[in-house]
Amino acid sequence: MRFLFSLLALLIACQNVTAQLTLGNGHHVLEITGSLSTYYNHRVLKETSDNRNKDRFRLRDAQIQLEGRIKDVIEYELQVDFVDLSSLAGGAIDPENPGLMDAWVRYKGLRFVDVQVGYGKLFYSRSSLVPFTYSPYWQRAELLRGDVFGRRDIGVTLMKSFWKQRVNVYAGVYTGLAEVSLRGDNDASGQPEFVARIDFAYPARYRYREIDTRNTPVPMIALGFNGRYANKELPDGRSFPNFATGEYGVKVVNGERYVYGLDASFQFKGFSAQFEIHQMWGIPQRNNDALLHGYYTGRDDGFFVAGGYIVQANYFSKKLKTIISIRFEELDLNDLVPGNAQRLSGALAYQIKGFDSMIKFQYFNVLKEESINPYRWTEQFRLGWQFNFK
């Protein structure tokens, strides 16, 4: 109840927020922004499902973001979502909404490279890097939500742009425990994860956005290549911290784990499209690892493959202030288990005031399931309002 009152107070306060969002003394400038979003979710459950929790209102976001700069040398960002913080309480962290979204400092004083330290989004996967507030959807694709590969982590990132920001290069080393790293636990392997990304855009730099709201007058493309590697072999009798392996148990592997990804994005005259494919190769340390599903038969086949892809197409009508989008996604959580999962989603978003005030509708349809990842529902409908104050 206290939380609801706090939220109400926040909502009322937001009505009057029109100015004084930036504080500065000429050297140090701090900007305060935030967002609120809420939706109604209707689920069509399977006839066999006895879990009747199917229709609900949900407060998805209640975020405050502090972005600061000290001269042009240091940048920092702190972003918190109060909804997710209030629901953590020692349970699993939702990787798509982990509560603490960003807490990092970036040093730009070195000529040859910028250095970012702290907790934040990993530079891996274009779609993951698009801020959620710029999406017409209420949920990211299953492949990209953070249960197959971590989207945020604590560590150090080196970054550099070339050729008028058309080429961006990122490389970093992290705990490898993703969002669970916030709990401060180490894993007994003592090994980090290495992540790298390079993206290329033409004919001009391409921001991490998926909708062409500017009606770009010439065709623009962007390609990205991602890779990450961890060798986390646990000593006998030890295990990873709670929830570190994610909902599907593949986010961290007791052994070696390689993930590769390719992403492509296109925009022209209001049309835009994205394609992403990610492939994970896990080599568990032990032959009897559950991820091998009893298929280990010899030295050379002690591995499994997981991954998937998404295809998304969007159109933005400036006159109608409306985005329409359709997305197909496929996810194979383990190639040793027959089958894979497929989902089709459609989104419709009406912009009252750009992305800052937007009514969003998303439809999900489960086309196919993988036996190790069954759903309770066959369809979902989400309708809600996204509001950003800036």
């Binding site: 930036t22 500065g24 008028k164 089958g339 459609g346 086309l367």
Partner: protein, 259 residues
């Protein structure tokens, strides 16, 4: 990986399923395309030529009043003089921060730093920084002053904020704020402003529009569409051609004067 299109085919044969998703989406796309095609857009202007500029990430441009050269500022905080083919002639001994607007008036160069909310005043002849004036503005960090020019009709400087909201501020010759006008409905954003031929001209990056304003009432008189990625600066050269500079492309685009 399976064969997604086989499964889609199966899905489409499932009674009721396609009606729910595919048909409404398809119909919506068709309706939106039809409506968009009938959208009345401003007249499109085509550049008559373009040239690369040596200035990295140029964010605004104005004509030198006495020569066939341009004064240009770059996003990373530098002030340049550039010739008509984009070659840098000189650079001020100055490193600012997030410079977004520039204009020349009575022998002085006025440069806006969006991030710090400061106006830097340089001597046009020597390119030396002479004074700095702070103009407080509490709006978004990167949504503050984006453009500056001198309004000869009302004998004052004007500065416009970029967006959320768009304000036009009038300043006296000593750079004191004297007036504020809400320009929210003029465009999605404003990236530059200039004076030419008795009118004020604005540039919108997001809309890719050039906007002609009555300099007294600030009413919109006309708009044109310019198909340029990230247009950030506008000026008119000595031949009356409109010059637009693109930040992302680092190019100068020349147009016949629209009016």
């Amino acid at each position: 990986m399976g064969a997604p299109f086989n499964d889609l085919r199966h899905f489409c044969k499932t009674p009721g399923a396609p009606q729910l998703v595919i048909i409404p989406l398809f119909a919506l796309v068709i309706i939106m395309l039809l409506l968009s095609s009938t959208e009345k857009r401003p007249e499109k202007l085509k550049p008559i030529k373009s040239t690369h500029t040596q200035v990295p990430e140029p964010s605004d441009i104005c004509m030198h009043p006495d020569k066939n050269t341009y004064i240009v500022v770059s996003d990373d905080g530098f002030l340049f003089e550039m010739d008509s083919v984009g070659k840098i002639i000189r650079k001020a001994d100055y490193k600012g921060f997030d410079t977004e607007g520039v204009t020349v008036h009575e022998g002085k160069v006025y440069v806006i730093e969006e991030f710090t909310r400061k106006i830097r005043v340089f001597d046009l002849e020597t390119f030396q920084l002479e004074r700095t004036v702070s103009v407080p503005y509490g709006g978004g960090r990167n949504k503050a002053f984006e453009s500056i020019t001198f309004n000869r009709s009302r004998n004052c400087f004007i500065m416009l904020t970029e967006k959320d909201p768009i304000f036009l501020f009038e300043l006296d010759k000593n750079l004191n704020l004297i007036n504020e006008i809400d320009m929210e409905n003029v465009a999605s954003d404003i990236s530059a402003a200039t004076w030419h031929n008795g009118f004020l001209w604005l540039l919108s990056d997001e809309d890719m529009h050039v906007i002609k304003l009555d300099p007294t009432s600030y009413k919109v008189l006309n708009k044109w569409y310019v198909p340029i990625i990230n247009p950030e600066g506008i000026a008119f050269d000595r031949n009356g051609r409109m010059v637009i500079v693109s930040d992302d492309m680092e190019r100068l685009y020349f147009f016949k004067s629209p009016a």
